[in-house]
């Protein structure tokens, strides 16, 4: 875990108190701190992920419109999950003129460290309507177990 100095910058001597900058610096600190708990060193930031869990599984979801599901690379190892792939945007044939070009294409690669180990054999991934959902069952010794208290 690494920390950054969160102090008013000397770059702009004109504004001696800039709440906006302090807030941005603080947000950046939080961002780095929260990400380092989950991220491996060489990880990207795309796609944004939502992760939920219940007592049996982790559920990881990402918005990935227009990708080839067969080209997605999803691997798990211990408590790490890696997701890589690419999104291609076809070049239109003929004489076209663009008015807007906002959709991004390219490759992505992201690795997460989950809070518990998962059972790699039973991980499932599903891609539907542009949403990728990965279901990761917890490994047996990671599951919470109710412990009975003996009173004898």
């Amino acid at each position: 875990m690494f920390l950054r100095r969160v102090l008013p910058s000397r770059r702009d001597p004109g504004s001696w108190f800039d709440p906006g900058r302090m807030l941005r610096d603080f947000e950046q600190l939080l961002d780095v701190a929260s990400r380092s708990a989950w991220a491996s060193p060489e990880t990207g930031v795309f796609p944004p992920l939502n992760i939920t869990r219940d007592s049996n599984c982790f559920y990881v979801r990402a918005e990935l419109p227009g990708v080839q599901a067969s080209e997605l690379e999803i691997t798990t190892e211990g408590n790490k999950l890696s997701l890589a792939g690419s999104r291609e945007i076809a070049t239109e044939k003929g004489d076209v003129s663009y008015h807007r070009r906002e959709r991004a294409a390219g490759s992505f690669s992201r690795t997460l460290v989950l809070p518990s180990e998962v059972d790699a054999e039973r991980v499932e991934a599903r891609y539907q309507d542009g949403i990728l959902t990965i279901t990761l069952p917890l490994s047996d010794n990671s599951r919470a177990r109710q412990i009975t208290v003996r009173t004898d």
């Binding site: 939502n50 869990r53 419109p65 690669s109």
Partner: protein, 137 residues
């Protein structure tokens, strides 16, 4: 500089709108990323709307204004706890465009595949010029 590696994609925040759609729909409203291009005969709109299915998509074209509205229903099951939340899952994708050309509404083609809407809007064929004969009495 040329490189063989594809450029890495960056995470961008979903573009949240404050507009009229927000007032009538519950939940968040987002502006979908679009590509729009045209040829001599048609205009094509490609819109990223992940999580939208065709029964939750409305496309409206009137008075030269094209409106897209796609709803994403929440999918998180009950009883699940949040571990990480990096984007808003449910809500509405909403965007309006004004089109300069007149569109032949009978020939509009819309397909929704893997969360990408492809909307083909053929332009009305220019009216045949008519020669008007002037009769003189």
């Amino acid at each position: 500089m040329t490189s063989n590696k594809q450029e890495a994609m960056q995470a961008t925040e979903k573009h949240e709108l404050a507009s009229e759609a927000e007032r009538t729909r519950p939940g968040a409203v987002f502006s979908p990323a679009v590509d729009i291009f045209e040829t001599a005969t048609e205009i094509t709109v490609l819109a990223d709307m992940p999580g939208v299915t065709s029964d939750h998509l409305e496309i409206d074209l009137r008075d030269g204004v094209l409106t897209l509205e796609g709803r994403v229903e929440p999918t998180r099951a009950e009883g699940q706890d949040v571990v990480i939340s990096e984007y808003v899952e449910s809500g509405t994708f909403f965007r309006k465009f004004s089109l300069s050309d007149t569109i032949d509404q009978t020939k509009i083609d819309a397909t929704l595949t893997d969360g990408v809407l492809r909307l083909r809007l053929p332009k009305v064929e220019k009216a045949q010029p008519r020669r008007i004969e002037v009769k003189s009495k």
